[in-house]
């Protein structure tokens, strides 16, 4: 069963976002994020989404969503990490892609840990081990990245998240592990 999404917050959010952006754009242009986001009109959600767990973990097919700004360096465009209003696009990452093909386009977090070991933000190798041990049922053919700097929350809710969810449904995903970065 697909839980119904609450979209009632989007229009009020956008009404507050536009004046915020007008006031914040100059601060953000000079990377003065602290003062800019002190007045960010955080979305106010009326409910917490919920889907009951209907099968054991050992029978679940899992997909990872990281906000670490990962993309395939030889096949996909990087995220626009310099855009003041962020980048709310997404990238499908094949389960079997070699880690060497993955690159980070997300200038809003320290990369040193993830560059040393991508499992710290995208734990696919660890999940493969858990599947081999029978702890997790399986991994979806596709996993996903967004780039965590995406203040246009309405765009994420109306375009990005539904597109990712649709692909997950096509691939029979039972469980999403969402890794905020």
């Amino acid at each position: 069963m697909t839980p119904k999404s609450d979209t009632s917050w989007i229009a009020p959010f956008r009404a507050r976002y536009a004046p915020w952006w007008e006031g914040a754009r100059a601060l953000i242009a000079r990377h003065d994020y602290g003062p800019a986001f002190k007045t960010y009109p955080w979305p106010t959600f009326g409910e917490t989404p919920w889907a009951p767990v209907t099968k054991p973990l050992a029978a679940c097919r899992l997909a990872v969503v990281t906000t670490g700004g990962l993309y395939l360096r030889d096949a996909q465009a990087p995220f626009d990490g310099e855009a003041g209003e962020g980048d709310s696009s997404w990238r499908p990452l094949p389960r079997d892609a070699d880690a060497g093909r993955l690159a980070i386009a997300h200038p809003h977090f320290p990369h040193e840990v993830a560059e040393a070991d991508l499992n710290t933000i995208f734990p696919l190798e660890r999940l493969v081990e858990l599947v081999a041990e029978g702890v997790v049922g399986g991994l979806a053919p596709t996993h996903y990245s967004t780039m965590g700097y995406a203040p246009r929350a309405g765009d994420l809710a109306e375009a990005t998240a539904p597109a990712i969810a649709a692909r997950m449904r096509e691939e029979g995903v039972d469980l999403a592990l969402v890794v905020p970065v």
């Binding site: 959600f45 919920w50 320290p110 933000i121 858990l130 592990l177």
Partner: protein
Amino acid sequence: MSPSNNPAMTARVRPPRWVHVRFPRGAMFGEPGHRAKQRAVLRDTLDALAAIREPGGSLALPYRWEAPPVMWRGSPLRESSYS
């Protein structure tokens, strides 16, 4: 299911289920190269799926950062400001 190093922010987002991890931003499953610890964090995170029975429910995981602080914009990230 989502790990969080920032409970206040996560409470705003209202994910269905989450676990609190005390790791700096960009290291949500622990130190790089620490395979056993990463797997333990990941397993506990996934086991919480069955343990959390209410929308928005969470569990705190016991792990701590055991490497030198991660630097961000010239300052070390500390647990009170990991994200």
